[in-house]
Symmetry: C2
């Protein structure tokens, strides 16, 4: 068994190690240094990262007053203490409303070039505006109402002035601040990264076996690249999409109703987009049960079984499921603790 | 049946239409405008396109004196009158020698970011040097010998002086000239492009059915993007790789010995690279029989069958094979006639 090398399918970009994510590359637009092994974070030219903007964005991210009845914040569904999601099949919005799709983790969302399960937002900034007015999420009547709400909270105005200039409390700048905070929510230094770059004995035998099986049965056909979410680096908005399920006849696909949601088609209305999804990253996947777009698959082991069946027409053995699951566990990185911000 | 839209999986870059490829964007480094629907040609900053360089590269491309015994030119195996390849399972080099891999077409090779079946060359420039000294191809004893050979041909020296400056007849500049000519060998305006951008009735019913089937059975899992060769735009050298066959047990895979070649592993010696290949474009695929890395699959219909079996564990019906093949035929573009250059 040879552990001395790694997979070109993962097509890792040149190694960038930064001791602190905010120290990277002048914080201007462009590519922000990621942690080792991961693809870099794209920073838009019109939204450079500054510490004050990160702090403002963090406040907004945790501020439930941005929702209709003051009960739901970004963090309610993308809970940084719960793997960046909420561990529910679908999230609960204002008034107990429920949507139809599982909350994707915010950790490492900055590495994606297309946001939402269907990739319909080309940036974190665009994504941030979505839940605010979604009636089953934060349920604000309009984006203007969001701006009015934030303006009505003493203290935010001065911060926007300081970060963006005078009269800058707009919906675009609210989104820019939140997106900027999210660009700091990057989680690397997983056991797998350690294995890959430092310590060839970091993976257990089972994890190593799982890594091999992950490649051999074709999981990497979709989950390739440094983030196991497709080949890097794609341009902004160019998400890596795949159809799932490709094999819709199986009992697992039926059991978990994975054919019911048309995915990207609902957004684009384009023939061929039926059941097409942005490929999710496998980093930290162990932390974000339940699984799939509808959150109906309760465990990671079962998710592995479902993915192999619906994606590759494979009926995995129990041993294969165990080892792939163990390998996926090695992709959990260090999630830097986020202290609740003091809100204005 | 709805033809009014097309597939986001194809993830087409913004439309660029140029009336003449050499007129595009100042011919400097950067992105050269492609034909409509296709990904753009990447032009290295240190090798801008000029008409004189294209002419020089064309001469070198057609000049068999660059081979050991003066019998084999680039065009011998990448024959511009034979779909940019040679329609043989494997090519014949100097002295009747044969390699083990099918000649890939040079048409649209400029759209790939990794060259050769296994992607081992990150640029056309690097690729151009390979066959010169390959003992089963042009068989020159060394790259220095190539330079000496070209220097010995009266006329080339002056052209290199004019194109690259004094004392510039080096192997790198030979490669730059050839690569520059190859960047003009772009073939768009296929029936499919016409369908996609101009005339919704351009595809026949069978082709349209084949396009749908191509997506539904998962061919697009690998053959996505504007060139049906993976998602754009990848950075230089970041080829889009996939393992093939993923399903090695089938009779077709065995019949055509598609497991015998370890692919990218032979170059990288990396665990996990066994049977990994750069995904070839489907543009002009109808013109480049026989198929697969070993050239053992004689017809496009059979290639479709083999690919679905080995890649997706699908046993296609005869109707599905027919329609996909018809669709693939719609990807043949206009191949601008190349007149033989006058050699010095």
């Amino acid at each position: 068994m040879k552990k001395s090398s790694f997979l070109s399918l993962l097509a890792v970009t040149p190694l960038v190690v930064t001791s602190g994510i905010l120290l990277a590359q002048g914080m201007g637009g462009g590519m922000m240094g990621g942690m080792r092994g991961m693809s870099g974070v794209q920073v838009p030219a019109d939204n450079p990262i500054t510490p004050a903007k990160v702090a403002l964005g963090k406040q907004l991210y945790f501020d439930a007053r941005l929702s209709k009845d003051g009960t739901v914040s970004c963090n309610s569904c993308h809970d940084l203490k719960a793997g960046g999601a909420d561990n529910k099949p679908v999230s609960t919005g204002v008034g107990g409303a429920q949507g139809s799709r599982n909350s994707p983790t915010v950790w490492n969302a900055a590495l994606h070039n297309a946001q939402f399960w269907d990739g319909r937002a080309p940036s974190l900034e665009e994504q941030a505006k979505g839940p605010l007015t979604n009636p089953v999420e934060m349920a604000m009547p309009s984006l203007d109402a969001v701006v009015a709400r934030v303006k009505g909270i003493p203290g935010y105005g001065n911060q926007f002035d300081a970060v963006f200039g005078k009269n800058s409390l707009t919906i675009d700048n609210i989104a820019r601040a939140i997106a900027t905070y999210e660009r700091t929510l990057v989680s690397g230094n997983s056991t797998f990264d350690n294995f890959r770059f430092t310590d060839k004995s970091a993976l257990s035998q089972t994890q190593w076996q799982g890594f091999k099986t992950f490649r051999e049965v074709g999981c990497v056909q979709c989950h390739m690249g440094p983030d196991f979410a497709g080949p890097p680096p794609l341009a902004r908005g160019d998400g890596f999409y795949q159809k799932f399920p490709l094999f819709a006849e199986g009992t697992l696909v039926t059991k978990y109703k994975l054919q019911d949601d048309l995915g990207r088609f609902d957004t684009t209305q384009q023939v061929g987009d039926e059941h097409v999804w942005r490929v999710p990253s496998m980093r930290n996947v162990k932390e974000t049960a339940p699984y799939f777009h509808n959150g109906m698959v309760p465990t990671l082991e079962e998710a592995v079984r479902v993915c192999a069946a619906g994606g590759n027409n494979r009926d995995l053995t129990q041993g294969e499921v165990k080892s792939i699951t163990a390998f996926l566990g090695s992709l959990s990185g260090v999630l830097p603790e986020q202290k609740m911000p003091k809100l204005p």
